[in-house]
């Protein structure tokens, strides 16, 4: 064995400066960590914008910001939260976790992965540089023409930023799809993939086919603004409604792009903390695929009041989406039913997600009713709905995922007591901030206006909403403190702290750069459960045993065959054991 040179890098590798290592890394775990950190910083920034908005709206009248500043505030708040927080955060978690869950050494295209990441901070820089050139974009995150045809250079920078972030997402989507289809562990058929992987796959397909459409629209807008074209200008024969079509053809799949990864996270967590397999695995997969497919058929439900779309078609398909979403709720409830629940922090946030996302989902079904939609178009009802799915949905899902995978990523366990504080502040704050908006919307309060009439009840509801927004902001403090004190502690987290089912827990915490020395056999969607409860009596301790061998990575007697070695590629053609497509054999 001494003659084998499967891992020549181990001897020739010279340590590099810390900063150089992070700037040039192509390791999916480092890139994932950078995505998560960057996204969280933008979350804080977007949150500050939200606080200014809510402070302004606390009472009627114009107190802190003038109307133009306010327009920029809600535009940058929305764009930041969607494109610079939720999307990079989900991409970051998927970047870290998906290759581990499919038992791969890295993503399919590691350098393109690095490129995708570095486009994100530069996209953010472009967006915020609007403030340096006389005012950021002010046409809302939807950038409706003809409003977006006017305005200063801030809107051009907004366009450039979205095109860059879109490219980043498309390249990321290609990478995830290739990774999931080509890099799965032997035995991991499609119907044995962890549910987070399934949701990332469907999300990536949505990204791949929806982002380029809005990119074409953004290009048209840019050409209109700068080269005298008239795509959205009726005086030249153009049509402003066209913008709404290209925008929402992306914009509605985008909604599922934001929420499907959160579904995936919650569906990883609920079975583990119920000590049961997922109830209805196949139904869940089909529901996820159905949501993805239906996502492309409903874009014009954002445009009911334009009078330019066929209402029954889009209304019907919008209702139809409630079916697969409802199936998912049954999956979660059925998994918890008679399970041995343990309410640790990831489960706590997942339960919060399930409870509150239900409200957001039901709001959506209301909006599918055409006459009702006519009544609440552009009111705070819509603001309430989208915040119930994005804050109560995506944000709760993200925190559930962060608490769940923090020990894997850092080797340290977050404090449970602080998590409980954070959860209740966030839970109450979210409801306090966004529930009153339902009532305001029904009462006719229009969104995106700096001021409102002191109608009976409006002031009180708005004031409540502002208190809720500050509670959400305060809820971040225990989390930051939690992360701060935990990172100062030694790495004591076990490899598999939650007694979980999927492959990411079969390696050390944090994993070595090559992820796995050896993979357990994959014979179901819960390979680690199979490993711990093998029929041959080798109970428990199977995973710690694996850990003890991987940690001594200095000079193991038999150097493990590194997955990235080219020789592996040459030989695995003959292995023929990976049997994908054998879904029928999974049980």
């Amino acid at each position: 064995m001494a003659t084998t040179t499967l891992a020549p890098r181990a001897t020739t590798y010279r340590g590099r400066a810390w900063i150089y290592e992070w700037l040039t890394t192509t390791d999916h775990k480092k890139i994932g960590a950078m995505y998560i950190t960057t996204a969280f910083l933008f979350f804080l920034l977007g949150g500050i914008f939200a606080l200014v908005i809510r402070s302004e709206l606390a009472v009627p009248g114009v107190q802190f910001v003038d109307p133009e500043t306010y327009n920029q505030l809600f535009t940058i708040h929305g764009t930041t939260m969607i494109f610079l927080f939720v999307m990079p955060m989900m991409t970051g978690l998927a970047n870290y976790i998906v290759p581990l869950q499919v038992g791969s050494a890295d993503m399919a295209f590691p350098r393109i992965n690095a490129l995708s990441f570095w486009m994100v901070p530069f996209g953010g820089l472009l967006l915020f540089s609007g403030y340096a050139v006389g005012g950021a974009a002010n046409a809302g995150w939807t950038g409706y023409a003809p409003l977006s045809e006017q305005g200063g250079a801030g809107i051009d920078l907004w366009i450039a930023s979205l095109v860059l972030l879109g490219m980043s997402s498309v390249l990321g989507a290609i990478n995830f799809i290739a990774t999931i289809f080509k890099m799965r562990a032997p035995g991991m058929t499609l119907m044995r993939m962890p549910m987070f992987v399934w949701n990332t796959l469907v999300t990536s397909v949505l990204l791949l086919f929806s982002i380029p459409v809005v990119t074409s629209g953004l290009m048209m807008l840019f050409i209109d603004r700068n080269y005298g074209a008239g795509f959205f200008d009726p005086s030249q024969g153009g049509n402003p409604i066209l913008w709404q079509h290209v925008f929402w053809f992306f914009g509605h799949p985008e909604v599922y792009i934001l929420i499907l990864p959160a579904f995936g996270i919650v569906t990883e967590i609920v079975p583990v903390f119920s000590r049961k397999p997922l109830f209805g695995y196949k139904a869940f997969v089909l529901a996820t695929a159905a949501i993805g497919a239906l996502g492309f058929t409903v874009w014009a439900h954002h445009m009911f009041t334009t009078g330019a779309v066929y209402l029954p078609f889009f209304s019907f398909f919008t209702f139809l989406i409630a079916v697969p979403t409802g199936i998912k709720f049954f999956n979660w409830l059925g998994t918890m039913w008679r399970g041995k629940l343990s309410i640790k922090s990831p489960m706590l946030f997942s339960l919060g997600f399930i409870a509150l996302f239900l409200i957001g989902g039901l709001d959506g079904a209301f909006l599918a009713v055409v006459p009702f939609d006519f009544h609440v178009q552009d009111t705070y009802w819509v603001v309430s709905h989208l915040h119930y799915v994005l804050v109560a949905g995506a944000v709760f899902g993200i925190f559930a995922g962060l608490f769940y995978w923090f020990p894997k990523i850092t080797g340290r366990m977050l404090d449970e007591r602080l998590a409980v504080w954070q959860f209740w502040l966030l839970f109450i704050g979210t409801n306090l901030a966004f529930f009153p908006m339902h009532l305001l919307g029904l009462d006719g309060m229009i969104r995106r206006i700096v001021d409102y009439a002191a109608n009976p009840g409006w002031t009180e509801l708005n004031f409540l909403s502002t208190i809720g927004a500050f509670m959400i902001a305060i809820s971040v403090v225990p989390f930051l403190w939690n992360v701060f004190i935990t990172l100062r502690k030694p790495r004591t987290a076990p490899d598999d702290p939650w007694d979980a089912y999927t492959l990411e827990w079969a390696t050390t915490s944090p994993p070595p750069s090559y992820n796995f020395d050896a993979l357990p056999p994959v014979r179901s969607e819960r390979p680690l459960f199979d490993l711990k409860h093998r029929a041959d009596g080798a109970h428990a301790a199977a995973v710690p045993a694996l850990a003890s061998t991987t940690q001594g990575e200095s000079t193991p007697g038999e150097p493990p065959a590194l997955p990235e070695s080219t020789e592996a590629h040459a030989t695995d053609a003959e292995a023929g054991t990976s049997e994908p497509g054998g879904e029928g054999k999974s049980k």
Binding site: G103, S104, A105, A108, F109, I112, V170, A173, I174, I177, A178, K182, M183, R184, P186, G187, L208, F209, S210, I211, P212, V213, V214, T215, S216, G217, M219, M220, I223, D224, Y227, G228, A229, G230, F231, Q236, G237, G238, N239, H245, V246, F249, D517, A518, L519, P521, A545, E558, P563, E564, S565, A568, H569, T571, D572, A573, E574, A575, T577, S578
Partner: protein, 207 residues
């Protein structure tokens, strides 16, 4: 290590059959590009339908016969379609291990791509100077120049790609077994060709 080793000789766990990973990446990328052009085509047909619904002529008044299938666009189209054939010939050569034949085919494809771009520039200049038809000549000009312009940008991207694989071929890279970059660039080139056929029939004949 007492972990059960089911696949001793498959350490990476990669799935090695089916389409090559890099080629899959290119195919997915082309999928996204299809949607980009779908957005532009959607804009064209949306605008056209809106004009016709209001009883206005399409193309708009005064621009009825600006875009005609004259000698220059037809020549350009024939050259681009043929270049796809030449490209495929190059792929077939390298699949047989004939690198010299591939290099010749790549060089010819490259020249044909550059000729196409030159003819497009010539066509643009003629339209602007003789017909006064620019990107700001109403929605019709916006659509024509944006659609053909983005296609031209993609042809340019293909030309860059062909240049790269040609240079690699000239330095002795690629063999019958290892030439995935050539395959990927050729698929991209065919895609660019097919988009042009769609654009040509839409803009010059269907209108």
């Amino acid at each position: 290590m007492n972990l059960p080793q089911v696949e001793q000789d498959d350490p990476g766990g990669h799935i090695s059959h089916g389409v090559n990973t890099a080629l899959l990446g290119m195919l997915l990328f082309i999928g996204s590009e299809v949607m980009f052009f779908a957005g532009l085509f959607g804009a064209y047909f949306n605008t056209r339908a809106a004009a016709q619904a209001m009883g206005q002529p399409w193309p708009p008044e005064g621009l009825q016969d600006v875009i005609e299938p004259t000698l220059v666009p037809i020549t350009a189209t024939v050259i681009l379609v043929l270049s796809s054939v030449v490209m495929q010939w190059g792929v077939w050569r390298i699949r047989k291990g004939d690198r010299t034949g591939m290099n010749r085919a790549l060089l010819l494809t490259l020249i044909m791509g550059i000729v196409f771009l030159s003819l497009q520039v010539y066509d643009y200049l003629t339209l602007v100077t003789e017909d006064g038809f620019g990107i700001n000549s109403g929605i019709y000009g916006s659509l024509f120049y944006t659609m053909t312009g983005f296609h031209g940008a993609h042809v340019f991207g293909g030309v860059v790609g062909i240049t790269v694989v040609l240079l690699r071929g000239l330095t002795g890279q690629f063999s019958a077994k290892h030439h995935i970059a050539v395959e990927a660039v050729s698929v991209y080139w065919h895609f660019v060709d097919i988009v042009w056929i769609g654009l040509f029939f839409t803009l010059y004949f269907l209108k």
